[in-house]
Subunit: 383 residues, 2 copies
């Protein structure tokens, strides 16, 4: 049900001809209200795609009536003309649906540095508008895929209200958001301020801690639209917890579909002096190419974990570090621990636990292994 | 001639049986004086191998009479017993050659987290001492190899004095030194202070700017020994320039032999507001797995360069960035530039130039592409 699980939303997904493959490449999500409250978080990359620059402006108003999303082109590094293309897309949606362009968010994903084929995209908006449906959530989720092998959706229900969402992303997954587009919708009745607080809290521990390949995208966008159609205003706590559950579910799906990966790696950092230390160490481990190769080879090479920890500024004593791989403490007190032969790494999920032995704080970062397939997918053609 | 090019040095390289392959794995370099002045720089990794902790202490005295180096085991993350092994190795060298153990530096390289086979290493020291020769430089360079496919040496001559050196390193090449051991020798007559200044200046722009795979080692060591046997004391300027030339030569050899690489990538950052900005941007580009894959595929994917620049804190305006690949300015003013079809990437060396258009500063970082062979070398067995 994805973005149409909550009351007050329609969606569609169609093939506009933007992708040469002829696959679905244009999605529309419309909030029919009564409320148009919205919040958004965007890539921390300082090189931002045109649709990010546009949607950041839209979100400043705290109201979003529609989101138009295309795959098949990122519209990033396309200069002022690229920004005009985004603007024209929003205007076309607004004209077609009788909305204000200033309340239409735009998302794009695909190759950087190429203009969008506007001669296909603009007519596509008309087709997508004609297809809008209370049951269009799945089609929208399918249309935003790039190298995704599956579409990703999640739904959580509260007491009389619902949050649903869709995500796309398969490569360039890194902090400050993965290369991903996410649209979350809810029929809870909450204002833009409450939505913003909840969204920032939920993404901080989910999408922001997915780091497939250390590369941060120019297009990452997570939008949250609230129709208020349930007439229920949940507490911030309840709503944030449900939103975090949806975001965690979608994040896990992103990691599970990362380009060329054969392992999903949960890097748990425990015993840290601060959460910031735990995150810094987790990211350093998650980005260590040598460790990612070792895990691909099912080799519990804990020396590479210590080597990665050693590059951080976190509080730790090298002689007190402990590392477990899939629950076997192969490194104790900075040196050889339990027999590494005991580690079973046959399954797709691998858990690397690093204990800094300094305090009570912890964090989890999700990453993938580094494989020949990843190299192939990212070297054989432009993406 | 490597470490025996300069007057006053003997060296040897032998097979002590540390490596299961039976290959050469133990090297000895001895300074016969008259001066024993020395300087050293070590890994910035906070998890340091036992030989690094030992040699840092030795170098504090500013005098080194001998260096013993082994491949086949890093003696890192081996706890107090590992440190005792290093100490015992230095003692054995001192006993055998009639030196003080406090003036014997130790270097190790190989797998982390495994104790050295001291029953083979200690007798090996005796054999290596017996083989010491004025012509042993090449054998020493061969004995320190791990996954290196070639041994690396360089020599530069000044006015009556010489600097020679040897290096090993093929993977885990990253800043704060690559995974490498380097011994440089000179017959120039300079004190420890002058050597230290020259060594730090030379490594800052050479070994510190080699970043093959973003992974920083626990064992990196660069030692500079001066015998004074030429009787000549060159100016700091002349000596530093010559030392930098030797270090640059060895650095380039390291990149050229990086594990599984098919391209050597020179990342030039120009137009930066400060050298620090240039280095930060260069490292970010050099570590971008997606770009490294694209270059492997001979795809001039400049969007990935901009995406990498965007993750830094350097001064730049996204709309003024320019990027050239092998001299073709494929990105101008943050957008599409010259025809990417003009870029010829058939050769092993690829030059990526990023112009931040902010100031006069620049820096060069060397890296490699990311290949299926890199994944294979680092996943198929522990290393």
């Amino acid at each position: 049900m994805s973005v149409t699980a909550a009351k007050g939303f329609k969606a569609s997904g169609i093939a506009a001809g933007i992708k040469e493959s002829g696959g679905a490449d244009l999605a529309l999500v419309v909030n029919e209200g009564p409320s148009l409250a919205a919040a958004g978080v965007f890539t921390a990359n300082r090189v931002k795609a045109a649709p990010v620059l546009w949607s950041e402006q839209v979100l400043r108003g705290g109201q979003v009536s529609a989101v138009v999303l295309n795959s098949g082109g990122a519209n990033a590094c396309t200069g002022p003309l690229g920004f005009q293309d985004t603007h024209a897309t929003a205007e076309k949606v607004a004209d077609t649906l009788g909305l204000s362009a200033g309340e239409v968010a735009v998302c794009s994903t695909g190759l950087i540095g190429v203009r969008l084929p506007m001669d296909k995209l603009i007519p596509g908006v008309g087709t997508a508008a004609a297809e809008l449906s209370r049951h269009g959530g799945e089609k929208a989720a399918i249309a935003i895929r790039t190298t995704d092998t599956v579409h990703k959706t999640a739904v959580v229900s509260g007491d009389g209200w619902t949050i649903g969402g869709m995500a796309k992303g398969a490569g360039m997954l890194a902090p400050g958001l993965a290369t991903m587009l996410v649209v979350l919708t809810t029929d809870a009745d909450l204002g833009p301020g409450a939505l913003d607080t909840a969204l920032r809290a939920a993404t901080r521990t989910t999408f922001d801690r997915v780091d497939s390949d250390g590369c941060m995208s120019t297009n990452d966008t997570v939008l949250l639209l609230a129709s208020g159609a349930s007439g229920v205003s949940p507490s911030t706590e309840d709503f944030t917890a449900a939103l975090e559950a949806v975001c965690a579910d979608l994040s896990r799906q992103l990691i599970g579909d990362a380009e060329g990966a054969s392992k999903d790696i949960k890097v748990e950092v425990v015993g840290a002096a601060s959460e910031q230390d735990a995150v810094e160490v987790g990211r350093s481990i998650a980005r260590n190419n040598l460790l990612k190769c070792a895990i691909h080879g099912e080799d519990p090479n804990w020396g590479r974990v210590l080597s990665a920890i050693g590059t951080t500024s976190a509080a730790f004593d090298p002689d007190r570090l402990n590392v477990a791989i899939n629950g076997v403490w192969v490194c104790k007190n900075g040196s050889v621990g339990e027999d590494r032969e005991k580690v079973d790494m046959r399954f797709r999920e691998v858990v690397v636990t690093a204990d800094l032995a300094e305090g009570p704080h912890c964090a989890v970062i999700w990453t993938n292994d580094l494989t020949a397939d990843y190299v192939h997918e990212n070297s054989a053609y432009s993406s």
